[in-house]
Symmetry: C2
Subunit: 475 residues, 2 copies
Amino acid sequence: MISREFKPLDYLKEEELEQIHLGALAALEGDGVEFFSREARDILKKAGAKVEGENVYLPRELVMEQVAQAPSEFTLHARNPENNVVVGGYNTVHAPGYGSPYVMDYVQNKRRSADYKDYVAFTKLTGNSGNLDVAGGVVVEPNDIPDYIRHAKMFQAAVKHTDKCLMGSSMGAKKAQESLEMAGIIFGGVDKVRKNPALISLINTNSPLQFDPRMLESMMVYAHNNQPVLFSALTMTGTTSPVTLAGALVQQTAEILSGVTLAQLINPGTPVVFGSASSVVDLRTGDLAIGSPESTKMFSVIAQLARFYGLPSRGGGSLTDSIIPDVQSGYESMMVLMNCVVCGINFMLHSAGLLENYMTMSYEKFIIDDEILGMARDFASPMSVNEDTLAVDTIIKHGSGGNYIADEHTFKHMKEMRIPIISSRERYAAGGDLVDAAQRAHEYCKAVLQDYRNPSLDENIEDELNKYIENIPTE
Amino acid sequence: MISREFKPLDYLKEEELEQIHLGALAALEGDGVEFFSREARDILKKAGAKVEGENVYLPRELVMEQVAQAPSEFTLHARNPENNVVVGGYNTVHAPGYGSPYVMDYVQNKRRSADYKDYVAFTKLTGNSGNLDVAGGVVVEPNDIPDYIRHAKMFQAAVKHTDKCLMGSSMGAKKAQESLEMAGIIFGGVDKVRKNPALISLINTNSPLQFDPRMLESMMVYAHNNQPVLFSALTMTGTTSPVTLAGALVQQTAEILSGVTLAQLINPGTPVVFGSASSVVDLRTGDLAIGSPESTKMFSVIAQLARFYGLPSRGGGSLTDSIIPDVQSGYESMMVLMNCVVCGINFMLHSAGLLENYMTMSYEKFIIDDEILGMARDFASPMSVNEDTLAVDTIIKHGSGGNYIADEHTFKHMKEMRIPIISSRERYAAGGDLVDAAQRAHEYCKAVLQDYRNPSLDENIEDELNKYIENIPTE
């Protein structure tokens, strides 16, 4: 978790922000949102929304009333309480990549299908990272595990190999319920989980202005049980949203607010996050451009809109459109991630490992991103300003032309400097090796996986979880 | 030039900033600064400073009085008035790398000594860039040109191959005077240059708390002639300044303010910049760590301190400690450059080309940095928010599940998206080439240099400049 002290950058002027807000309310009233779930529509109708077929028109008073019920921050609980995080305020909580079907093989220089071995390895890297807070999402898609049990096997790996915060499945009501019951095993009962939210889940919109039944149904399970929901608008400019950034933000805001409204109607006070995984499309080719400044601008405004609504925000990641861990992957990932921290994004999925927009996970990029995260964390961590660090007496003592190298003050503070993981500061040497940082990441990653030790876990819990998973029905 | 609309990020709290300010004033009174120039000391003594040997103790009233005379922004004039820039306000002006003695050969993968051919080539790349505003600095050290004429040959190349803003030599009074006279040839007389400042020069401190005679003497020539001066504190933590960032900032502030005081006493209203090229040292090895978050934090506070004093700021660059254009060079350069833009740095030397801290220039990195600059410029450029871009009617028209691809609104706005220079958004293809962005930069650079055309230049001016340079005495 990154904690800042400086005020986040407000990207837009207040009056511009308000125009986006008013545009979203107008869209919710004028067009509405399609909810592909009768239960959802019934709840909204009962609250005063007009329903026509699947479409729900949401009056602005209803929306604003419900949004006001959501907490501005909440604690997400981990099985090791030291790893609890606060989502909201001046914090940014980090989770690794989510949902990639592929893995890039650095040695073979080829992309291949991801499997459960990859899932376990990336989960260990997540456990090892000092910068990642959340495990148990779809860190990479374990394509070799049958669908009916995939969410459970991912959950099991996350619990076994880390003691960090966890994510729940958003693949329908059944899997959400199972996620919740497995969390109950870990935390001493589902009641405890309800009291101390421990499963955060990703609920994407189906842009423009729809929610699909699977996501909706799992969301309703989580809302009923007071588990945090990451509502994420997933628009693509010029195809599933207007091509203009302001227009895309109007639509995203409408989509997110409609989800938040439903969650609050189900259970007032449900922890929700105002989120975006939207991106800009390069309309020359139709390819995503998630490592672009335009995408970054959208995330900056998402953070600002969330503050306007008094909600935590989600956006960004260590995002790149490059397919290899080259210089492009470095400058793009740093741009998106650092600006999202500076602009006050509170929850950042996709913080480590991604290449080729959201398609591919890379072991080397995971380590590189851990370095980027560490740098962002250091930038955000407060500079110590007090009589000792100001060192006025030391400056006067040494005077003009002095040298501080052997000073007591230097010895006292020199260890405060951050030590990089893979970044090199070695100077050029004739005949020396010019090693690429990606190669150092490759070697570092191998060593981490070789030496990794699981955190301790109660054997009874492990057994109970095993038994639970064995009994999951195949249909 | 990058122009923002958002307020810069204030990194420190006001009371913390004030402590640094007060610490600097205490250091100036308690220790003073060594000025290795009798003329400089006499000017300061006459104004009320206490002088002991080379050391000058500066009373805080004198410092603050003089600092208040400096303009908060000023225009730097180019021979093509369309390329004039405003240093200060919400702008960031960019100049390429400065002072590297080496060039990295990408094909041979070897570092070599830089020469005049390199100088000319990097100057052409500067001319080609849509993001760089200033030419004529020591873009790379032309080691094959004799010292007595090196500044003049660099000036000549900058004038011939670009029509952008220019830098003056800071290598002593004689060369500064010659820079001024050459500028006079370009701009129709030295008097015109005095009225419309056209030569910005880099005056580094000799930390801790000294000014060397060569820099001082050239600075005095420029101040007498109303040319802008980039005062830059060049401290290294734990060796030539305290190891703590706050302490290093106290010392830097003292150094810069002492220079500003002298410049204002010479000519009230001399345009000056509150600058830093200071860096953090990795004390495990003694190597610089200019691509570190710690260095970035210092630049952020430098920008904030400059705003406090009502002065334009200098800091940052596309800085990296990597010796090759790898992923590390990408994430480090983006971090420093983007945060300096976000935090409001007004003048950024070293914006393109550097590798291996300040030691080496790279053609490929120059192109990569031009891409990074373009991304930072796009991020900083205002998002258009109005009825048309908000597109509420378009959203309502398409409704849930619609597609915007063929919409008039999409056609109208789709060309507003930035087209990258070398960044790729192509997806992975089995059997396809996995080309590194550095390789694309290499090819792009070759094409630019092949096709480059000089801007037009009056033949008489060219002749006069040639004659002036031929007549420069060798001593």
